[in-house]
Symmetry: C2
Subunit: 223 residues, 2 copies
């Protein structure tokens, strides 16, 4: 009778995983912000998750949270569900890429392993979701990602868009509009040291476009 991994816990694990990808451990406040939960509540949950026989989380007071091997597997399971669902919604039900995140956020906790397998099969075992994000494999390994923020490019550099953040529908609609989507090639025409603005030429688009850091920090490219 190992502790059940509730929907709530799945959300904690998923967000701890994503925060861990950036800097080291996930802080109470960052988690609280992402989960839309009071920091005090996060502390409570982290204490609980770290104090079972085989814990999902490693947590030391004032030092944030990290995942154990088990916790990471559970997180990758949820992330695989999420990204396969997004792909399925776009490919099979005709959703646009700005509509799928919210729906996937609910469904990811509810589908069976059978449903996951059938989706993967029907989609031809995709490796990336509609936003270019990598889909963990069926055995729960996260493929390596080499991409870097568009914001880190400078004048005359050339790159291929690999993925974009998927949680802001307005941003996604804008990116679609200007043609900044995965696999598209771009060239940086100018970098402004003041505001961090990048002027870029997007493959297949006539005019150059100027993007602020609010955009360029959310788009990831391979040089």
């Amino acid at each position: 009778m190992s502790e059940a991994i509730t929907q709530s816990i799945q959300d904690y694990l998923k967000h701890i995983y994503e925060l861990n990808e950036y800097g080291g451990s996930a802080s109470t406040n960052d988690l609280a912000a992402r989960l839309n939960i009071a920091p005090a509540s996060v502390t409570g949950m982290l204490q609980k998750l770290a104090s079972t026989k085989s814990p999902l989380v490693i947590y030391k007071k004032h030092q944030g949270a990290t995942l154990t091997k088990n916790g990471e597997k559970a997180a990758l399971e949820v992330i695989r569900h999420h990204r396969l669902l997004e792909t399925f919604l776009v490919n099979t039900l005709g959703y646009s890429w700005d509509e799928v995140h919210h729906e996937a956020d609910k469904l990811e906790h509810v589908i069976s392993e059978d449903f996951e397998a059938r989706m993967a099969e029907a989609l031809g075992h995709p490796t990336r979701d509609p936003h270019g994000e990598l889909i963990p494999t069926a055995d729960l390994t996260m493929p390596a990602d080499e991409s870097c923020p568009l914001a880190s490019l400078r004048t005359d550099e050339t790159a291929t868009v690999r993925r974009v953040s998927d949680d802001d529908p307005a941003l996604l609609r804008h990116l679609r509009e200007i043609g900044v989507v995965p696999e598209v090639k771009i060239v940086v025409k100018n970098y402004s040291a003041f505001d961090g603005n990048l002027t870029i030429k997007v493959e297949g688009q006539k005019a150059n476009i100027v993007l602020g850091t609010a955009v360029t920090s959310q788009v990831f490219v391979d040089k």
Copy 2:
């Protein structure tokens, strides 16, 4: 800020609706059995559901529960989700008809109205699910059903299978095996007054088969 219709409440409403279809009001014990919840807990929930400003349920002590107009709409919403999902899982993801009920029972509470609409569209607005059960319309009306239990037929009567109960996977596999599926024609060869057994000939099958009431009470036909 009208009271939220939680997943729990949706399940209560769905089962009250289904029990109301048979006899009059849904008893505490019947609901408890269907929901796998202690009778005392059901009493508590019914009291709560019946005591809001615009209640979903009509409940009088010791007399079971009935749905209000609002309660019925909410129930039909869930049932529409359930049956569209079952159809979708079979038609689009290749599930067999004995596997879908459990999956749909979880998904029905989670999908959006947009998801519902896209499924209906993709499926060509079906009127029945894989078990032949009627799908409530988009404006939440339940079409009339004329079918009667196979158990009520007698020797020499002829009928068309319309629908079968969908909650017992073993029964569904057996029915598939013997060819008793929606739209198939059957003839009653013999009725045994003792045990209620029916001997029937199924269209397209070589040999006659004998069915007990455990089966014939779960299969519904049009004469």
